[in-house]
Amino acid sequence: MKQFTASIINNQEIAQGYYQLDFSWHDNEEPKPGQFFTVKINNNSDPLLRRPFAFSGYDTKSKTASMIFQKRGTTTQMMAGKTANETIDIIGPLGNFFPAIKDQEAPLLIAGGIGLGPILYLARTLERQKTPYTFLFGAPDKALVPDSKWFYEAQPIICTDNGSKGFKGNPLQYIESRLQLEPKHSFYACGPMGMLKSAAALAEKNNLASYSVMEQMMACGVGACMGCVIKHKDGLKRVCVDGPVFNSKDILWT
């Protein structure tokens, strides 16, 4: 974990309102799939707080980290306007990461919308390790599906709510209608709350191992402010240090 000024290497719109931003990495600690970092984009006080983003990839050779972000509010709007050689203030890597895939495990990687980042990173890592996996990506419409080159070597099964591309329906509907869930299957999910909740329920029903990347508003990102809590069976847990990856059975879904 380190605070440093990163240079932007590339920043490109990869789908409607979605950007991939690659930046130089200056910590000896290499980011792992599931981990995140925080960004401060400006020198003044509005927006004030750092914003958390997941890693969507990391290239060890060039020491380049990647993220996929969606333009939503002030910070992400400013980020979208950044070009190569401009700088951003980074703290990372933060949080825990996905557990290692076990032998014989058949992981289902489930990404919804902007939850793509950490799942894509996991898929690419498994690809490199030659670990088999199934990767599903869901979006409301094909406009929100990046061109296949942005998935690199980890091509997902595309699901769209309106059927404008790939499977018509969301990744969970795909799983339920197309796959035969077996004990060896496990879930690694990131995306909207509703999707995570359904994934957790489905895993529970089939008694599968299941991990979710959780989100919560954050102030410090390092466990100091106690702001980013969610309900866990052992009480309130901080997403930033106790997560963001949680065993979905431990979460009290509300």
Partner: protein
């Protein structure tokens, strides 16, 4: 340049601390911050019993600020003594323990447990969070009531020889009255200020953003309010005042010192930039040497 801060013949090398609730117990920021540059860590408020704190969401950003309604989440005094104190003792800076209670008795009990504990010997002093609601008294915060502050300060003073710092709430008509009450009853110093009551509403969900409805406003937005409060309090009492509220740059710290504060704390700014306390220290040093100040108290203006 003498940057020290003294109470009861005890000195902190650097009159720049990190504020309660914004720095955890030090270890959270260990990798990012050179703790030896920090005068003192003011710990997250500890209460008698373990508290999970309020329901979430607990924080939200506001223009140049943030609201928090953490609800004094903490491990409780017993675990604090057994788990947190040993960790804090190893830090290369002093520790000031911030405490609170929901009744007069609770405050005293927490303090007494620290006084009675060997492990707490190394504590430099206590900061008393009086923004805590008084459950025996209609739920209004202790800190808005002159009588409550008098009684509380007197009771705690009797239990300790360590520096006793009362942390004032700004949500009052006249903060100098509360300040005088604390001074008259034995406080060694006053921290000025805790957060302002604020609220934001989620217009999509049609409910307050914070589960607790209201939260405390902190950050640059409150800088001018904190300086006004510190200026007023510094002219109402003669014990040292510790300035706090909205400090994010060394220029802000200098303003508090000019208002009359003898020490400052950095809160929300650390979230934004963990190196803020250290940068502020460097800036203050540079300003003082360029302007030929040899000690911080000389910065006070009329």
């Amino acid at each position: 340049m003498d940057l020290s801060f003294t109470l009861r013949n005890k000195s902190l090398e650097t009159a720049i601390g990190v504020a309660s609730g914004t720095f955890g117990y030090g270890s959270e920021y260990e990798k990012l911050v050179d703790l030896s540059k920090i005068g003192a860590i003011f710990t997250k408020t500890v209460t008698l019993n373990k508290r999970e704190g309020n329901d979430f969401p607990r924080i939200v950003e506001t223009p140049s600020g943030m609201l928090n309604a953490i609800g004094l989440a903490n491990v409780g005094i017993e675990s604090f003594i057994s788990q947190k104190l040993p960790m804090l003792q190893k830090m290369p800076c002093e520790t000031i323990c911030n405490i609170a209670g929901f009744s007069m008795e609770e405050y005293q009990e927490v303090l007494q447990k620290l006084e009675d504990s060997e492990a707490a010997n190394f504590l430099w002093g206590y900061e008393i969070n009086i923004s805590c609601p008084n459950v025996c008294h209609g739920g209004l915060a202790f800190g808005v009531d002159v009588k409550a502050v008098e009684t509380l300060t007197k009771a705690l003073r009797q239990r300790t020889e360590k520096p006793l710092i009362i942390k004032l709430t700004p949500n009052v008509t006249d903060i100098s009255e509360i300040a005088k009450a604390a001074e008259a009853n034995g406080a060694d110093a006053l921290t000025c200020i805790n957060t302002f009551v604020g609220m934001l509403i989620d217009i999509r969900k049609k409910i307050p953003v914070l589960a607790n409805k209201t939260g405390g406003l902190s950050g640059p937005a409150i800088l001018p309010l904190g300086i006004a409060a510190a200026y007023k309090v510094c002219r109402a009492v003669s014990i040292p005042v510790i300035g706090l509220g909205g400090i994010s740059r060394w220029e802000d710290a200098i303003q508090y010192f000019m208002a009359g504060a003898k020490m400052i704390q950095v809160g929300t700014a650390t979230f934004v930039d963990p190196s803020a306390p250290e940068k502020i220290l460097l800036g203050v040093k540079k300003y003082c040497s360029e302007n030929n100040y040899s000690k911080l108290s000389d910065l006070k203006i009329d």
